[in-house]
Amino acid sequence: MFTTGSKLLIGASVLAAISAIAYGVAQDGVMGTVGLASAALALAFLAGVNIYTRDSNIWDDEISSVETAPAAARPPANSIWPMAFALGAAVLTVGLVTYQAVFVVGVVVLLAAGAEWTAEAWAERASADAGYNAEVRSRIANPLEFPLAAAIGIGIIVYSFSRIMLWLSKTNTVIAFAVLGVIIITVAFLIAYRPGLKSKAAVGAIAVGVLALVAGGAAAGLDGEREIKEHETTEGLTEEGEEICLSPEEFEADEKASQSVAASANVAAEITLTESGSFELDVVGPLTEGSEAITLPRSNPNNVIFINESDEERRLSVDLTVPPTDAAEDEGPLLKCTTLVEPGGRQNITLTIGAPSFAAPDGYFFFVPGVESARLELIVP
């Protein structure tokens, strides 16, 4: 009685009806229930039309035509894709009323299952030779299936790997993955140099390894990341920050501070603290020798490199405090500085200055805490 096409429509109609009831009960929503119920009715109507027309306008009394129609030919094997398609539709529907991520998963499953089902159904009717049909299907689908499957597989492994890395402590991470690396190399060595090793054993070992990795990743992901301590820096200075920028002493932010700069090609200026305790200035262009002031543009990130050629660890500081005006409320004291730079070291400081230097009663100045003679006017027009 039921034709192939009508089965899908009947199933979808039943699913929509169940969803309408579930939505109505769980969400207490009228519009969603009406929409889903309407979908159930529409799908039921289409199923009825399909049954009446026997999928392709073949009348009920032409039994022989029905029996010999391509759509009536028995497929060579049961297919998993209709079930996967229905699962995708269910997940999609659930996603509509729960989380966006679930909805996206439903769409992906629905599209993938639909594509596979279409390719399979088409290939099964390519000829009377089942072997040839299978080959045709592989030729069409494999170029898409293999890269996608590989990408998904690699993605899962990498994600699991990262979850485990973030779950373990920094020390244990090194140990765990050193051991894992040794295991992988050993297995690879055995596979390469023991041709007698059964392929099933090799595949089994790899499968177990991958499963362990994925299971470990899932467990680690559920347990959460290890506590990652944020190290203090001189950025976003608070009262403690002011203390740092005014002091030649070492603070936590100064520990393990970088003593070299990679991006030296895009600096607005280089400021060198000489052995004699004075500043030397070098800006892009040839005309700065002996300058006692540096001009930096307003409201723009300016990279300034501080080079310490003195005998002690020093930092470069700048006071950008401006009093409140009609246009700006009181922003409080604003000091910026590098971390301590070792003798011979260099560091970058990026300055974005909103107010002009003439807004500050004494202007802006670069200075080095502990070195009175190091003072350089900063002009911001």
């Binding site: 600096v267 262009g285 040839p286 723009n300 246009a327 700006a328 909103g354 003439f358």
Partner: protein, 416 residues
């Protein structure tokens, strides 16, 4: 004996054009139009008309490269045309198929390689020469933002000495016959600085300082525009380089460093305009030396209002000829033509005269003050500023009254 039938020839007459297919006619007209565009006289952004040594270097490179490419192109296209006509399918037998001709293949590999090497050597040499900065004698900072250029002169010994920073916009003033080092960057997105008659393009990238040299042989105005798509009003982001004699350049610097002069009197239009400026404009636009009613300096904080963090400094607004990213002229057409068409000997004097009341292009300026986003597309609609935390990109509509516009125009006319 009968005569052989006469071969009929189509008539060659005035109807030839109308007999052409529609596509051919359109193509012909478009081609002629393009050809005619090359004859334009009023073309201030002509790369084939260099006005300084840097642009001349590019010109000296581009014309032989263009000639070589043209000759190669003609030879290749001629061969293709011959082959298409001579070997077209006329039902003849397929000729003998061969594979490989080492001498020809090697020759056709070596010949283009030699041509490319011949082009590469002067190209690399020119690029290296254009990148030299050691011989520059004047530094000018250029900062791009949507959709105008800020130009500032840092305190320096170069440029004949700059004792205090000078900030302007839209027009860069340089002394003639002086290698100028432009240090460029951007405050928001990537822009590109290009004055075709003085040098090539240079991208201005946020967080980076890029340099380009400029030098002009003669006094005059050299036009350019942003050449990296930068958003809604990219096409309206223009700039001009004004080249002056050394003497005129000194005069210009003195103009830009002159102390602020408040409008005379308390009840003049300009004096009222000063108060209107403080109330309406000074949050973003700096006028150096301007004080509020309490005698406190008025400090503009565009970083709190504008996405790029900057707005044009209007201290000496009427000393320049353009506004709104050099999109509009501050001079009316007659006075503008007088400056643009003046000979090099009198150009400086005319430019330095600035904008007088008689020469002011009050139509565009008033329209701009009335509703700036309607004059030049900008992102200023409060409903669409969530992405920038409420900061505008461009000048918003300040809903000024006509009286306020009159006052502001009177006040701005004195800013020189």
């Amino acid at each position: 004996m009968s005569n052989p039938p006469l071969k009929r020839h189509p008539l060659r007459s005035a109807s030839t054009f109308s007999n052409m297919s529609r596509r051919l006619r359109i193509g012909l007209v478009a081609g002629l139009g393009l050809l005619a565009a090359g004859c334009a006289q009023d073309a201030p952004q002509d790369t084939w008309d260099p006005a300084g040594p840097n642009a001349q270097m590019i010109h000296n490179l581009q014309w032989p490269v263009f000639a070589i490419a043209g000759v190669v192109g003609v030879i290749v296209l001629t061969f293709i045309a011959i082959i298409i006509v001579k070997f077209r399918d006329r039902g003849q037998a397929i000729p003998e198929q061969t594979h490989g001709k080492p001498a020809l293949e090697i020759g056709l590999t070596i010949l283009p390689a030699l041509i490319l090497i011949g082009v590469a050597i002067p190209t690399v040499g020119t690029l290296m020469a254009l990148n030299e900065t050691d011989d520059t004698e004047c530094i000018v900072n250029v900062t791009g933002q949507q959709w105008w250029w800020e130009i500032d002169y840092a305190q320096q010994d170069g440029c004949g000495g700059v004792s205090e920073p000078i900030v302007t916009s839209g027009q860069m003033i340089i002394p003639i016959n002086t290698p100028v080092l432009v240090r460029g960057t951007s405050r928001d997105v990537i822009h590109s600085w290009w004055i075709p008659r003085l040098n090539g393009k240079k991208d201005m990238v946020p967080g980076r300082v890029h340099t380009v040299r400029l030098e002009a042989d003669e006094p005059g105005i050299y036009a350019g525009q942003c050449t990296e798509f930068c958003g809604l009003s990219h096409a309206n982001m223009r700039m001009e380089v004004i080249a002056l004699t050394a003497e005129d350049f000194e005069t210009w610097k003195a103009q830009q460093l002159a102390p602020y002069e408040a409008p005379i009197g308390d009840d003049t239009l300009a004096a009222t305009g000063e108060a209107t400026f403080v109330a309406q404009c000074s949050r973003c636009h700096q006028v150096n030396g301007l004080e509020d009613a309490d005698g406190q300096p008025v400090i503009a904080r565009p970083d709190l209002q504008v996405y790029s963090g900057a707005a044009p400094n209007l201290s000496y607004f009427m000393t320049r000829n353009t506004f709104a990213g050099a999109t509009f002229d501050l001079l009316n057409n007659e006075c503008r033509d007088d400056v643009w068409d003046s000979d090099p000997a009198t150009f400086g004097e005319k430019y330095l005269a600035g904008v007088s009341e008689d020469c002011l292009n009050s139509v565009d300026l008033r329209e701009w003050l009335r509703n700036a986003p309607a004059k030049k597309p900008m992102y200023t609609d409060p409903a669409e500023l969530a992405e920038t935390d409420g900061l505008v990109r461009g000048m918003p509509n300040l809903a000024l009254s006509e009286d306020q516009i009159d006052e502001l125009v009177a006040y701005l006319l004195e800013r020189k």
